[in-house]
Symmetry: C3
Subunit: 131 residues, 3 copies
């Protein structure tokens, strides 16, 4: 498995990790197959969405914070239940198809690490499969 | 990678693509393994859910439109932020297990392309892995 | 494919299946690769989240029940549309990376079957890929 680390700077934040994921896949020598991009944290996730206009990231995070309010009838004493809920909604991993040793993405797609309880130092795992 | 295209006819819509996915998997010659069904668009997704009663699709879309309102404090000028948010909630891909050259689905399960910013012409990518 | 069954005891419930998934992966003989953990039901899902404090599970389910109300303008006569919607939000499968014949999880991560229309007897499918 390939690993890399990132540092987040806000409580909730999307970090574009497309470049790091591409490098990780290139390191494996797999030319055709698929890769799992995996978040080993329970208050973060991985998603694929538009990367061209920063307003898209802002709007997604803004609405997630509205859907899952910071204050509610939460029991978890650590106080970060909203982050755990956003992790369920987002998913802990994403899949990409590999062709020519590279992740295949649509024209507007970028791969994001989703920080829901930052700022923190985070690790991302990448497992490429195929030949 | 296998590819196929579909045309959607509404702003939000679930299209049953089980037949197309089965054909794509059959074309690969993979008899046992798993497949990634991937949406290369940032305002659509892939999900697996009930296909027998059309009311289920209607209820899911209706509630998604309630959870993610069309009008809110969005900044993305293209006006389709709700679609990007639904894409995060849904996921850009689904995984199915392959046995006997076919996708293994539960009794009531069907595979759906989720259109959140239609009508449009859309492409779906399928990568089968295994032997 | 490996399979195992579980029994749920509540209408909505998270069941820790990490042990069963680890055993299933061990049975395959795959030492390095990735596995798909798949729910063949349309009113349940698979997620990965914190397992240490039971309050986290409680808070996630409580908020999901708030986001997707039990009573709304649903048309599906079976009366379990909220369960189908939570299945879309959760996803029907999760991916884990395999190293040393075991699923790689973060320090706080556990694998959960998500029951959204229980109590029922449920089946989980596991497909491991790699070498």
């Amino acid at each position: 498995m390939e690993k890399f680390t990132i540092s987040t700077s806000s409580r909730t934040q999307f970090i574009d990790i497309t470049h790091e994921v591409s490098n990780a896949i290139g390191n494996t020598g797999i030319t055709s197959g698929a890769a799992t991009i995996y978040c080993p944290h329970t208050t973060g996730g991985i998603t694929i969405n538009e990367g061209a206009d920063p307003a898209v990231k802002r709007d997604i995070l803004h609405m997630l914070n509205s859907i899952v309010p910071w204050e509610a009838d939460y029991r978890h004493m650590e106080g970060n239940s909203p982050a755990h809920i956003k992790t369920l909604l987002t998913g802990s991993s994403a899949q990409v198809i590999i062709e020519n040793s590279r992740p295949c993405l649509g024209t507007w797609q970028r791969i994001f690490f989703c920080e829901y309880d930052g700022p923190r130092k985070r690790t991302v795992w990448v497992q490429a499969m195929g030949r």
